[in-house]
Structures are given as C-alpha cells and as structure tokens.
C-alpha cells in the first residue's frame, strides 16, 4: 500500500481546527458581505435610477468602495489562505476535493474573474457611467459573486452529504447532494443579512448624508433583512437533509456543538428581532455603534454555524470517504497489520526528548493519527481527556475508539503502536519522568489485539449504515 505520508507540523498548544476555523469564519463572513453586497447594490441602483431614493447613488459608490477594500483584498486572500491552511491541516482532504471537483473549482474561478473585473470596472468608472451601464455592471458583478457561492457550496455540502457520489463517483451526484439546496438558500439569506447590516455601518460613516438621508437609506437597506424570516424553515430543511448521526451531535449529542448551534440561533434571533421589531416595524434609526454591534452578532452567528457545519462531519472530513486524520476506511485494516507509522519517512523532530523507542513510537503514532484534532497538553489535549483513565481503560477505549466516542475514527495502527500511545499519554500525564520502563507484556498486546478485532475497522456511521442495509434486505 502506497500510503501518502505528509510531514506534520506542530501548532503548539492550539489545535489545527482552531486555525482553520478562525480563518474560515473571517473568509465566510467577508464573502457573504461581497455576495449580499452585490444584490443590495443592484437594489440601490434601481432605487436611484427610478427616482425612489435620491441619496442611493452616492451611498452606492461609498458602499462599493468598502466592498473593494475589504472583500477584494481580505476576501480574496483569505480564500487562498483557506486553501493553504487546509493543506497544513489535511493535505489529503484538499487533494481529494481537487481530484474530484477540479472543473467545478475552475468554473468557480471563471466567475471569480468576472466578479473581479466587473467589480473594478464599476469601482473605477462607475461614477462616469450612465444608469443603464451601472446597473449592467452591478448585475454582472452580483451574478458572478452569487455563482461563486453556488459552486463552492456544492463542494462544501458534499463533504458532509456526498449522497449518491459515494457509490457512483459521479461529479453531479456529489455536487447536487442532499444538503446542496438548503445550504445554498440559507447562505444566500445570510449573505443578504450581512450586506444589510454592513450597509448600516457604511451609511453611518458617510458624512455627506444628513440625518434624514441616513434614515431613508437605513430603511431601504433593512428591506434586505426580510428574508431572515425564512431562516428557521431553511435551518430545519438543512437539518433534515444531513445524516441522523450528524444531526444528533448538534442537537444534544455533543455539548460543544449544541452550544455553538445555540450561539448561532441566539445571535440570529437577536438580529431578527431587532430587524423586524425595530427597523422594519418601528422604523428606528440605527447608529454606527448599534450597526457594528449587529454586525458582530452576525459574525458570532456565522462562527457558530460554521463550527457546527465543520463539527458534525466527524469522524470524517469527507463523509464515508476520508476520516479526520486523513485515513480511509479501507486502509485501516492494512495499517493495523503493518503498523500505521512503519513506513512514515518523517522522523520525530525532538526525538532526544523521549526516554525510549516505545515513547518515540507513541509520539509518531500520536502525530499521525491524533495530531490533527488533539494536542498532548494543550487544547483538546490527550492528557486532559484520557490522563485520568486507568491503563487498561486507556487500552480498551482507544482500541474501541469509534465505540468509545462515535464521532472518533477507528484506531488504525497495530497493537504495539496502541500500547506505545498509551505509554506516551501516561508518561506525559506523569510530567515526563526521566525513567520510564517499556511495556512489553505479550499478554497486553494480545488483549489489545482482541479489542481491536472486536471493534472492527469501520466507523460507527458505516456500521450503522451496513446494519440498516442488511435490515432492509
């Protein structure tokens, strides 16, 4: 088996998911601003050219400047950054996403080119163009921005709900997967919300407008908050489309995910209440501070939502194709037979700090199988999670990892490697004592092997699917 080993970097006390999550949230939020912003500008251009809102034109040029300065720089580069940080986190995941969907990425790229060129054309020449040309450029920009979402959404939703693709490997089966439409519509509404809230901030920074004009513009912008009314239904549709086990993590199965879901719902609810009661109902004026606060709430909602979307995929990065630690289900049995790090060409960097070969082996196994989501002593650290378990408890729980926690992948190494990992955790829990005898009892190895065999090589998700298939047969 030619397993693609990659060098693994240590992020210190931080887990890689936090880095990719942090960057991802900023990218998604800025991208939503650009997508919703395009639609909002078309609306304001229509208001301006139809004479319905006199200050709309001046606002439009200022708002577009904000889009160019924020979205064209931060949005574009955090997009590239997502790509690069995904390579750092899970090179195999992004590799599979490229292999399976490179033409989709390239289609998205053609829309991105259209977006950038029409965007700059409007930014540079918009004030000198007539209404028809301005509207045409804005419509082209909006179409391009929204279609960028359309194409990327297909790939991101495929990661959680690959649908028929798992069996057929057909591109379009994967792209138009079960959560594609609810996810796309939900993100469209979210983009409109973000754009409206950002508009309220921009309106307040434009000194050229008097109070009356600002009130007019804010009320017009708040029309873009109306689609928020559909969010609960779209959210329910999305949750109905995702796999039952993923749904259960968010709805109580995992405290962290439930809390983040609560954050997303709570922040959205607050924005929705303010929008419908304050802005649309009582037509309240909104100052810069309140607008910024609502934007911060929208960012919190985005953060919560993205965390849940990423989290409910566990134990996979691509459901039923690739585990979080970049191992496929079909490779587990072979890695258990030959040892998961036997052929790993990359040595341990600080090998001298480990007291024995067994501990060095444990460190290598940790790096290969656990390091993507865990640290030793930092965030989600194994010492904190498993340090208090008895030695045999550690052996059994890790050997039957997918049963210990259903969102964990199966352990994919030999019994000797598992014992080395257990010894590493114990050694680290004891604060790295200078003497640490090797654990080489054949009886222990045999027991671990028995537990590994009992656990099987499939994830709980796959085992449940197979059981239900057998039941229906």
């Amino acid at each position: 088996m030619d397993f693609p080993y990659y060098p693994v970097n240590d992020f210190g006390p931080v887990i890689k998911g936090m880095v990719i999550g942090g960057l991802g949230i900023v990218h998604v939020f800025v991208a939503q601003f650009a997508i919703g912003g395009g639609l909002l500008m078309c609306y304001f251009q229509w208001l301006a050219q139809s004479g319905r809102c006199e200050p709309a034109r001046r606002f439009l040029d200022g708002y577009f400047k904000a889009i160019v300065l924020i979205s064209f720089v931060i949005g574009a580069l955090t997009g590239v950054g997502m790509w690069l940080i995904t390579i750092q986190t899970s090179a195999r995941t992004i590799g599979l996403m490229v292999d399976a969907f490179h033409w989709i990425w390239l289609i998205e790229w053609t829309f991105f080119v259209l977006e950038i060129i029409t965007g700059y054309a409007f930014y540079r020449y918009g004030p000198r163009l007539d209404d028809r040309a301005r509207m045409t450029l804005l419509v082209l920009y909006s179409i391009a921005a929204w279609f960028s979402l359309f194409w990327v959404n297909g790939i991101l939703s495929w990661q959680l709900t690959p649908g028929e693709w798992t069996a057929t490997k057909n591109l379009w089966d994967g792209f138009f997967n079960p959560s594609f439409w609810p996810s796309l519509l939900f993100r469209t509404v979210t983009s409109m919300t973000t754009a409206a809230l950002a508009a309220c901030v921009v309106i307040n920074t434009m000194t050229a407008h008097d109070r009356h004009q600002r009130v007019t513009l804010i009320h017009r912008a708040s029309h873009f908050l109306v689609p928020m009314a559909a969010m609960p239904l779209l959210g329910i549709w999305y949750f109905a489309a995702i796999p039952p086990d993923s749904r259960s993590w968010a709805l109580g199965g995992s405290a962290a995910m439930t809390l983040f879901l609560g954050l997303a719902i709570g922040a959205s609810l607050l924005i929705g209440l303010y929008a419908f009661v304050g802005l649309l109902g009582k037509k309240l004026y909104i100052n810069a501070a309140t607008a910024a606060l609502l934007c911060a709430l929208a960012l919190a909602a985005t953060a919560g939502g993205e965390f849940v979307r990423e989290g409910v995929r566990k134990p996979y990065t691509i459901r039923e194709a690739l585990f979080s630690n970049s191992i496929t289900e079909s490779e587990v049995a072979e890695l258990r037979r030959i040892g998961s790090v036997t052929n790993d060409p990359f040595p341990i960097r600080d090998a001298g700090s480990y007291r024995s070969d067994q501990l060095r082996l444990g460190a290598k196994v940790f790096r290969f199988q656990c390091g993507v989501c865990h640290t030793i002593n930092g965030v989600n650290g194994l010492v904190h999670l498993a340090g208090s378990w008895r030695t045999d408890q550690k052996r059994m729980n890790i050997a039957k990892l997918q049963h210990t926690k259903a969102f964990m992948p199966p352990f994919a190494g030999s019994a000797e490697e598992l014992e080395a990992l257990v010894q590493l955790i114990e050694w680290e829990t004891e604060k790295r004592p200078p003497r640490w005898p090797d654990s080489v009892d054949p009886g222990v190895t045999a027991q671990i092997q028995q537990w590994l065999d009992e656990a099987g090589t499939a994830s709980v998700t796959a085992q449940s699917r197979l059981a239900s298939q057998r039941g229906s047969d």
Binding site: V80, I87, H102, Y125, R128, L137, L140
Partner: protein, 367 residues
C-alpha cells in the same frame, strides 16, 4: 520525454501540463507587473526623496500607482487556475513543500494583504501630499511584501523537487534556497512591465495624450536592460546547474522552448531599439514586443517544467492524471468559461461606450 513538449506524454498528462503552462504564463505576466512595478515605484520614490520631493511625477509612475491594486488583484486571481492544475499534476510534491515551509509559507498571506493595502495607499489621493520619505517607505513596504512572496514560491518549487531530502528538511528545519532562481524572475519582470506599461501609455496616446519622448526612452532602457539581465541570469543559472539540469534544458523536451525563449528576448530587444529610434510607441511594435515577451515567458516556463519532470517520478503520476481526466465537468467548464469571457468583453464594451458618451457630454458642456 524524448519529444518536444507536450508530446511524448499520455494525453491526460499532456492536457493538464499544457493548461498549467498556459494559465501560469498569464499569472506570471501580472506577477511581473506587480513585482517590477513596485520596484520601479521604489526607484521613483527614491529619486523623489533625494530631490527633496521637488521632482514631478512621471507618467509611468502615475500609471503604475493608479493601476497597481488592480494588477495585484489580477495576479492573485490569475494565480488560482495554475494553483489548481499544479495540484492535479504534482499533488504530493506541492503539498509536501507547503508543509515543510510551514510558517514561512503561511506568512505569504499577511505579506500579500499588507502589500495589497500598501498599493491602495500609494494610489490614494491623500498620500500625494505626504512627505517623499513616507511615500518611499510605502513603496518599499509593498515591494518587499511581493518580493518575499515571490521568493517563497520559488523556494517552495525547489523544495518540492528534492523528494530525497524531505525527511532531512523536516528533521533539521533547514531548507534549500530558491533565491538564485529569483534573480531570473526579477530580471525578466522588468521586460514584461515595459511592454505592459507600453500598452497603457499607447492607450493614453490614442486619447490624444502626448507621451514624452523621454518616457519612451525610459521604457526602452528598462526593456533592453531586462533582456540583457535575463539572458545573463539564465546563462549563469545554466552554467552553475548540475549536468542533469543542463541536459533537461537542452534536451528534446525543452530545446524548442529554449530557442523560443532566446527568440522572444531578441524580438523584445529589436522592438525596444525600434521604439527608441521612432521615439514613439506604435501598435504593431507593441504587438510584436508582447508576442516576444510571451514567447520568452512560455520558453522559460517549459524549461522550468522540463527540470521538474526530470526530478519527479513522472511515470508514477500518469495514472493519477488519467484518473483526474476521467472526472466529469470539463464541458460545463468550457461552456461557462466562454460565457464569462463574453460577459467580460460585453462589460468592457459597455464601459468604453459609457466613457465615450461621458467625455462627449463633458465636451458639449464645455462648448
């Protein structure tokens, strides 16, 4: 590998290699504009600083300041397509080099963000009244950000070729340097900048703006110096390269492209000499110079690829490329690529018409 590129490879490999090279050349043209353009702005800023800010801004400097943010945006956008093809062609090599470079590699993101914003600052009307030293510092900052990004990409490329040393790099944290190759890029970037700015000035010329003879001379000097320095840098690279690298460059795969590269440089040199003599920028000459510039970029791109193909287990990659080619979506891509290209062309037409109407309106208001 015993036939000229892209022949001699299985069709899927040849297909992706060709697309990679084509998209990469477009990216490099924009990248050259940004790298050499910001270097030029540093030079102009330095001249302004030495003369105590009394020096009037040249047409080239003004054009570069005005268009630099758009050029950065296009360089980044145009870089996405070759990045995707690169991952299909050499996935393991590229990802491993990314991981080995780690923090330095990730540092290109903040560097690009800072560099990008500095170009906006250079363009801003408000900074025109700033002291010459401040504007010089902004230009230096932007240039360093883009130079760092370029040098890091170059190192990434070199590391990706050294599969036998990856474990050693990982353990020691010491990587090979891509700096010698950077000189080739830096030298050639001024040639590309010269003909791209030539087009921009030509457009101004057509709008009845007189391009001073001194400006044409400065561009010609830039173009000619670039041609000479590029030839020198490539020659030195070849002389100091190991025999396998030399064999790859003059081997059957890359030899026609080595000749194309030399031909491209000669065409550019002849054009700039002609422009110097004519003391103006003509469309035909600019077309010829652009063709020469693109030819030399294409030549150097294929030579670079020949060296890479010599270093990787290319036979092992053929199956991967065939698998990638079997994935659907190409027809839809071509369809949308054509539609979006037409929409972009329509957008251009709309803007040109609108501007014409606007200037006519302004003229009639004056009358």
């Amino acid at each position: 590998m015993d036939k000229p590129f892209p022949f001699g490879f299985p069709p899927p490999t040849a297909f992706y290699l060709s697309l990679y090279i084509a998209s990469w050349v477009v990216h490099v043209a924009f990248m050259h504009y940004v790298l050499a353009g910001t270097a030029y702005l540093v030079g102009a800023g330095l001249a302004g600083f030495i003369q105590g800010g009394a020096r009037a801004e040249s047409l080239v400097t003004r054009t570069l300041r005005d268009w630099m943010p758009f050029a950065v945006s296009m360089a980044i956008t145009a870089g996405v397509a070759p990045l995707i093809f690169l991952q299909i062609l050499y996935q393991r090599q590229f990802y491993t080099a990314n991981l080995l470079l780690f923090d330095r590699w990730m540092a290109i993101l903040p560097a690009l963000i800072v560099g990008f914003y500095l170009t906006y600052l250079l363009k801003a009307v408000r900074t025109e009244s700033w002291p010459a030293a401040a504007r010089l510092l902004i230009a230096i900052g932007a240039f360093l950000c883009f130079a760092f990004t370029g040098a890091t990409w170059s190192t990434n490329h070199v590391v990706s070729l050294k599969a036998g040393e990856w474990a050693c790099f990982y353990e020691s944290g010491v990587l090979v340097s891509g700096v010698p190759r950077v000189f080739i890029w830096f030298a050639s970037s001024f040639g590309t900048l010269a003909w791209l700015v030539g087009w921009q000035l030509f457009a101004l010329q057509r709008r009845a703006l007189v391009v001073p003879v001194g400006i044409v001379g400065r561009l010609a000097a830039l173009g000619l110096a670039s041609v000479a320095c590029t030839a020198l840098a490539v020659g030195m690279y070849y002389l100091y390269a190991d025999s396998r690298t030399q064999a790859a460059i003059v081997g059957p795969l890359a030899l026609p492209y080595l000749l194309a590269f030399i031909g491209g440089l000669l065409i550019q040199a002849v054009f700039w000499l002609a422009a110097l003599r004519a003391r103006r920028l003509g469309a035909l000459c600019l077309w010829v110079a652009s063709a020469g510039g693109l030819l030399s970029l294409l030549g150097v791109a294929v030579m670079r690829e020949a060296v890479r193909l010599r270093d990787v287990d290319v036979n092992g990659l053929f199956a991967r490329h065939a698998d990638a080619r079997s994935v659907g979506g190409l027809t839809v891509f071509v369809t949308f690529a054509v539609i979006n290209a037409l929409l972009i062309a329509w957008g251009f037409r709309l803007v040109l018409r609108g501007l014409r109407r606007h200037s006519l309106g302004a003229a009639s208001r004056v009358l």
